[in-house]
Symmetry: C2
Amino acid sequence: VNINEIGGEFELIQRLSKLIPADNNEVVKGIGDDAAVLRIAPEPAPYLLVTTDMLVENHHFCRTWSAPEQIGVKAAECNLSDIAAMGGVPQWMFASISLPEDIDVAWVENMYRGIARSCQTHKVVLLGGDTTRGENITINITLLGRVEPDRLCLRSAARPGDLIMVTGTLGASAAGCALLNKGKQPSKYLMEKHLTPTCRLDISGQIAFHANAMIDISDGLGPETRHICTQSNVGARIYARDIPIHEEVRTAARLLRVDPLEWALSGGEDFELLFTIAPEKLDPLGTCKTALFKIGEITDAAAGIVLIESSGRAMGLPGGYDHFK
Amino acid sequence: VNINEIGGEFELIQRLSKLIPADNNEVVKGIGDDAAVLRIAPEPAPYLLVTTDMLVENHHFCRTWSAPEQIGVKAAECNLSDIAAMGGVPQWMFASISLPEDIDVAWVENMYRGIARSCQTHKVVLLGGDTTRGENITINITLLGRVEPDRLCLRSAARPGDLIMVTGTLGASAAGCALLNKGKQPSKYLMEKHLTPTCRLDISGQIAFHANAMIDISDGLGPETRHICTQSNVGARIYARDIPIHEEVRTAARLLRVDPLEWALSGGEDFELLFTIAPEKLDPLGTCKTALFKIGEITDAAAGIVLIESSGRAMGLPGGYDHFK
């Protein structure tokens, strides 16, 4: 039985989770969020956050499109984004790399420079890792950070009545990717959004203090909303007309004759943050509020997870990418 | 320029290390030991240990020789061994896996069961990680642990006059591997040593309290001794006749007409511990002393790193395996 036949990546993760004994007292949150949350000293001491992500050549990046430094930046940023989504501050990064025998050393050094550059931007200490041989380039990043208990934003913390917010426009990374796949040259903006996306640590700390649930958008708005709803046992109503989409994404969509909403819902790798917040907490967010978009609200679980189309019609919220489907 | 042309894996790591800014105050030890050592609270609070290892199919394991559960055990044990080598206690494990599209789900579950079994043995909490697609199976384990500051054993802590000790016989994993490579069936003992090596957390805690430098033998006695000497700025004299080699390893060596010493010096993956200790600290080691082997002594750096052959002749200590040579 292969992974597709059992229902894909998330079903596999479900099965593997069952092989793991129940959480213990030091584990505040184990599998199932953007990072693991560990109690290393009694509260109110900060929790330790740990996230790990594996990037495989030709699945997560390819050498023909990306300069090595861009690949390094992307590997670092997608992990930094996981710490941002918990409300945390990143601290220490480890990078394991498998490399083909004939790889150019300069390529490896430049890729590593990209990782180091992202670390420097976010005051993260890069501490090495493992280097080994393999047919494909595989980069595994592990990032440790800390979070104050009162800033921790779990996927499971959304409540009916919360507003659903995103920190920026969606679909640009997918638009850039689609253009490259069709042999067309993306604009500078779409190229950057796809090849060197950046995490939202610039505002995640401010948001975390007031938000309930938070998650980063790495697989598209559709599945990320569903993760929050499933884990919080709530429903959601998302308004299609309120999903922010950049003008250049709309232009690319017209060129390729696709619905730009599809990129926002399933595209992934935008690394914006999706969060839920009680309406009365919106004002205290202060200045950073101006950069945020309200796209819907959290409902009771019974109301389901729905997308309200521009026509007013309600449909099940679509979208999502599975590595094994 | 490829990795072989610049001098191999260790030269690459040297180059990458130079791209990383100097250590900061929270980093007790960064790159260059079995695990990173991080100060998460003022001493005498324990330090946080972090180690990460990447295993690639057909380089570190192969599906024809190993059952999936054995591969999982080996992936876990080689990381547990790194924590043992620091004098630490392992706590939390994360596993990232890339899998080919057509992999049998039962294979993945059984591999994961192997990881979980090793975790259970050592009271480590397995906390998931990442699952993605790739052409090769690649397993990246990240293991966190803690160590009391007075038990921390760095590679850089050996002093002239120290005894050099190992915790068990060497070369059995390499002997098992060599037999398999030649199409011969290894004995049950050699098979187990190669396919499911086990870390020495059973005695590492006792040793760590008295030892100076410690390292685990993953690449063979030769390079591990050299790591300690380089980082401690000392020399070493190893006596060939005192290197413990199991009778079954000698039998296999006779069969394949090779020198069993070569397996001990370069074979690797024994996951025994190599440590240095002041002579007067040997008695306080107590009962666990009976299982240890003295193989040489630490000298001044000027005396070099030498192997004294059975004939009495001194030669430069040979041995080592490089993934890129």
